[in-house]
C-alpha cells in the first residue's frame, strides 16, 4: 500500500484480464467530490471515451467545485467555467473560436447538471440544438440542485424530498421529460447512460465524438447526500434504476431509437425507491403510482416500435 504522498502511477501493467474500459485516466484523484459521487464516475468514463483532445465548458454545478480551485484542476483537459444559463452558448463560442484558429479536431463538451439543463440552461441548450451546433452537451442528472444544498429542480421526481419541497408529500410536479424535448429538436445523436454500465457509457462518448452536429447525452447520476443514501449504494442504485425500468438506457440516431440495455423482466420499482431517504415518506399508493407510470412509458415504447 502506498500510504502517504504517492500519486497513482499511470504505467499499465500487463495482465491476464484486459480492462473492459480504456485504462487511460484523464481525471485525477484528489478532486473534491463527496464520497460515492456518481458525477465523478461519469466524468471519468466520459473522458475515457472522449480522449485528451477535448475542451470542457462547465456552468454552475457540482463539477464547478469538485474540479478544484485554480491553479489546480482535476481533469487533464482545458476547462472553462461558464455562467449558469449559458453552458451551451459558451460551448458554441469556444467551438467557433477553435474553428477560426483552424482547429477542426478538438471536441467541445458542455458538461452541466440537471439544474443547468432542465431549468436554467434550457434556452441556450435549445438554441444550440436548433442551430445544430457542432458540440456535445452532457447533462449529469442527480435530480436536484445538489451543489447548493438539495433544492428541487425540473429533474426532481414527483414527491421526492428536497430542501424546498419538505413535508411528507414533496412536490406534485413530475420529472420534466427532457429527453423528449431534445428528441423534438431532431438532433443527429442523443443517448442516455448511467454509471452502472461503464462500457456502454464509454462507447457512447467515443461514438458521439465521431458524429458531426449537436449531440446530447443524459446521465443518471446518483448522489448519496442528496438522495439520502449510503455512499456505497451509488452503483447499485444506478443499476436498479435501469433494471426497474425507471431509467431507460438508449440512444437515438437520426430519429431511430435503440435500447442499449434491454430490460426483459423489470424489477418492481419499490426495490429502487426503498433504499433512498428522499422517498422515505412514500406510501404504498405512491409506489403504485410510480410503478404505473413506468409501466405506461414502457407500453408507449412498445407501441412506438409496433
Amino acid at each position: 500500500m502506498t500510504e502517504g504522498n504517492g500519486r497513482v502511477p499511470t504505467d499499465i501493467v500487463k495482465r491476464a484480464i484486459k480492462p473492459s474500459v480504456p485504462s487511460s485516466e484523464l481525471m485525477t484523484p484528489g478532486h473534491l467530490a463527496c464520497q460515492g459521487c456518481a458525477a465523478t464516475l461519469s466524468m471519468r468514463y466520459a473522458l475515457k471515451g472522449l480522449g485528451s483532445e477535448t475542451v470542457l465548458v462547465i456552468p454552475a454545478c457540482c463539477w464547478t467545485v469538485l474540479a478544484g480551485p485554480a491553479p489546480r484542476s482535476a481533469v487533464g483537459v482545458p476547462l472553462l467555467h461558464a455562467p449558469f444559463a449559458a453552458a451551451a452558448a459558451t460551448a458554441c463560442g469556444v467551438k467557433a473560436g477553435l474553428r477560426a484558429r483552424g482547429d477542426q479536431t478538438t471536441q467541445v463538451v458542455a458538461w452541466a447538471g440537471d439544474g443547468g439543463t432542465f431549468d436554467i440552461g434550457l434556452q441556450s441548450l435549445s438554441g444550440a440544438a436548433e442551430r445544430n451546433e457542432d458540440i456535445i452537451y452532457v447533462c449529469y442528472d442527480n435530480e436536484a440542485y445538489m451543489n447548493t444544498g438539495i433544492q428541487r429542480s425540473g429533474g426532481t421526481p414527483a414527491h421526492a424530498w428536497t430542501m424546498t419541497t419538505p413535508g411528507s408529500s414533496g412536490s406534485d410536479l413530475p420529472k420534466k421529460d427532457l429527453d423528449a424535448i431534445l428528441r423534438a429538436h431532431h438532433i443527429p445523436y442523443m443517448a442516455t447512460a448511467t454509471v452502472a454500465y461503464p462500457e456502454d457509457m464509454v462507447r457512447k462518448f467515443s461514438k458521439a465524438r465521431q458524429i458531426k452536429g449537436f449531440r446530447f447525452i443524459h446521465i443518471l447520476s446518483p448522489c448519496p447526500p442528496g438522495w439520502k443514501t449510503e455512499p456505497d449504494q451509488t452503483v447499485r442504485l444506478s443499476r436498479l434504476a435501469v433494471q426497474t425500468g425507471l431509467f431507460m438506457v438508449y440512444e437515438v440516431e437520426q430519429g431511430k431509437m435503440r435500447l442499449s440495455v434491454p430490460v426483459p423482466k423489470r424489477k418492481p420499482v419499490g426495490e429502487y425507491l426503498a433504499g433512498q431517504g428522499r422517498f422515505k415518506n412514500f406510501t404504498p399508493a405512491d409506489v403504485e403510482a410510480v410503478q404505473k407510470s413506468v409501466d405506461e412509458s414502457w407500453a408507449r415504447l412498445a407501441d412506438e416500435k409496433a
Binding site: 500500500m1 502506498t2 500510504e3 502517504g4 504522498n5 504517492g6 500519486r7 497513482v8 502511477p9 499499465i12 501493467v13 500487463k14 495482465r15 491476464a16 484480464i17 480492462p19 473492459s20 474500459v21 485504462s23 485516466e25 481525471m27 485525477t28 484523484p29 484528489g30 478532486h31 473534491l32 467530490a33 464520497q35 460515492g36 459521487c37 456518481a38 465523478t40 464516475l41 471519468r44 474540479a67 478544484g68 485554480a70 491553479p71 489546480r72 484542476s73 482535476a74 487533464g76 476547462l79 454509471v195 461503464p198 448519496p224 449510503e230 455512499p231 456505497d232 449504494q233 451509488t234 452503483v235 447499485r236
Partner: protein
C-alpha cells in the same frame, strides 16, 4: 513614498492575463476523509477489475492480479466493497487500525 506601477510584460489588450490551471488536484490528498478502509483479501481476489472500474476517485491501481488501492486518496465510499463479485473485500474502521 512613490511606488511605480509594475510594468506588464505584454499588452493586456492583445494578450489578456488569464489564469491557467497548470497544476493537478492530485496534489490534494483526500485519504484523511476516510473513516472506513477497504481491505482486499488477496486469496479470494479474482483480479476482475470491478473495483478499479467503479472507483469514483480513480485511485485503484491496475496490477497483474490483486489491485492496489492508493490510500492517500481513497475516501472510503465503499463502492468497491459492495460491488466486488467474489466478496473479497471488506471495510475496517480506521480508528482500530
Amino acid at each position: 513614498m512613490e511606488t511605480a506601477m509594475p510594468e506588464l510584460s505584454r499588452d493586456p489588450l492583445q494578450f489578456p492575463e488569464t489564469i491557467v490551471s497548470d497544476r493537478s488536484m492530485a496534489e490534494n490528498l483526500t485519504g484523511n476523509w476516510r473513516s472506513l478502509r477497504p481491505v482486499i483479501d488477496a486469496a479470494r481476489c479474482t483480479g476482475c477489475l470491478i473495483c478499479w472500474k467503479f472507483c469514483p476517485e480513480a485511485c485503484v491501481k491496475l496490477t497483474d492480479k490483486v489491485p492496489l488501492i492508493d490510500l492517500a486518496y481513497c475516501k472510503g465510499c465503499g463502492i468497491c466493497v459492495r460491488e466486488c463479485p467474489p466478496k473479497a473485500m471488506s471495510q475496517q474502521g480506521e480508528a482500530g487500525l
